[in-house]
Symmetry: C2
Subunit: 192 residues, 2 copies
DNA sequence: TCTATCATGTAACCAGTTACATGATTTT
DNA sequence: AAAATCATGTAACTGGTTACATGATAGA
């Protein structure tokens, strides 16, 4: 089995559960549906996971066609094992939160290596970028209207975004608070 | 240069900027300081990044000691280039948000493949787990008292956690709302 | 003293990214 | 008809994870 690490494999299973396709078509369809906002993949990685899923028996070669002088295309379909894996994997992802490692969190854990003054500047810069993202997201949500179920991932993102904005604001205040801000202590410690 | 992908490399630079160490010691120190909550690494990957950083000239072999019949240990120290990279990298991470791919988000984008009834169950299960995590985090924050600057990453996590809890609650309601919930439409669509 | 665990590192394997290759179609 | 872009795939490189190896100390 794919050992459930690469989320692209999940997406491929999901799409093949609706109709057989060849890898290039998968690649296109995924991108067309905007799945590249929630799943990281490149043209090349699609071929990779298809091969992995094939080895694992979760999909199977369905037919091999040749259209004029184009390279051969192999069409893959999902197997019963594949359907089972899709279901179980999704259930697991939805039902059980797992520990993740957002880059900003990692940076925060090491941020004492910078001088507090520059950190404040950087945080303010981050804030304006975050607010830009929020504006874009709002626009996007206002525009399109497929059923909102298909925007649920966007809603989730927006929630996280708001939380991050709030956090950054608080953090800036904690550093700069004139009465008991961390700035001075931090600056002192930083001379080492 | 390390091309700035593996955050472990950043942590290694940060620690070596305080004192030279050998890889095993790095591994231990990182774990002792709880950096494994914010950065994903294993014993083996530390050796890997040390080698990469060495190749990139960001750290340098300082001395090679042998203690009794233990294997030789090589002690590494940061170079001036390494210090510059540490600073720039951190600045970038703090100042500029980047697009990330949380697993729950990916799952959400495909969740229509499950029946709405089971999704609701799963979300409720997720909620109790999330609330457990929140309780643990609160306890942890109440207990320890190094300067809160060293818990800032925890505070960030908590913010995200709250946001996720709120989102999941809303989502459950949207599915199950008796007047215009998505449940029926979703269930119907799901027969395909 | 036997066993378990720590200290330290290497090597083999697997996954992911990037770059390249080539014929087909479309645009200028 | 030249240039650009699309359609389709392969191959090479690089990074990350896992498993293994081996002497040292400590506990039973």
């Amino acid at each position: 089995m794919s050992s459930r690490k690469n989320l692209l494999a999940l997406a491929v299973l999901a799409y093949l559960s609706q109709a057989p396709m060849h890898p290039y078509e998968l690649s296109k369809t995924l991108r067309a549906h905007g799945d590249d906002r929630s799943i990281k993949f490149t043209h090349g990685s699609v071929y990779m996971v298809v091969e992995q899923l094939l080895k694992a028996g979760l999909i199977a070669e369905q037919e091999t066609t040749r259209d004029g002088q184009r390279p051969e295309r192999t069409v893959y379909g999902i197997t019963p094992d594949g359907r089972a894996e899709l279901r179980d994997w999704l259930r697991d992802l939805v039902g059980t939160p797992r520990h993740e490692f957002p880059a900003f969190g990692s940076a925060l854990s090491l941020v004492s290596a910078l001088h507090p003054d520059v950190v404040v500047e950087l945080l303010q810069q981050r804030l304006v970028r975050l607010e830009e993202q929020r504006a874009e997201a709002a626009e996007l949500a206002a525009g399109a209207t497929p059923h909102p179920l298909f925007l649920v991932e966007e809603a989730y993102r927006q929630g996280l975004l708001e939380a991050e904005i709030a956090f950054v604001r608080r953090f800036v205040e904690q550093i700069t608070d004139p009465v008991d801000g961390w700035g001075p202590m931090w600056a002192a410690y930083h001379e080492t």
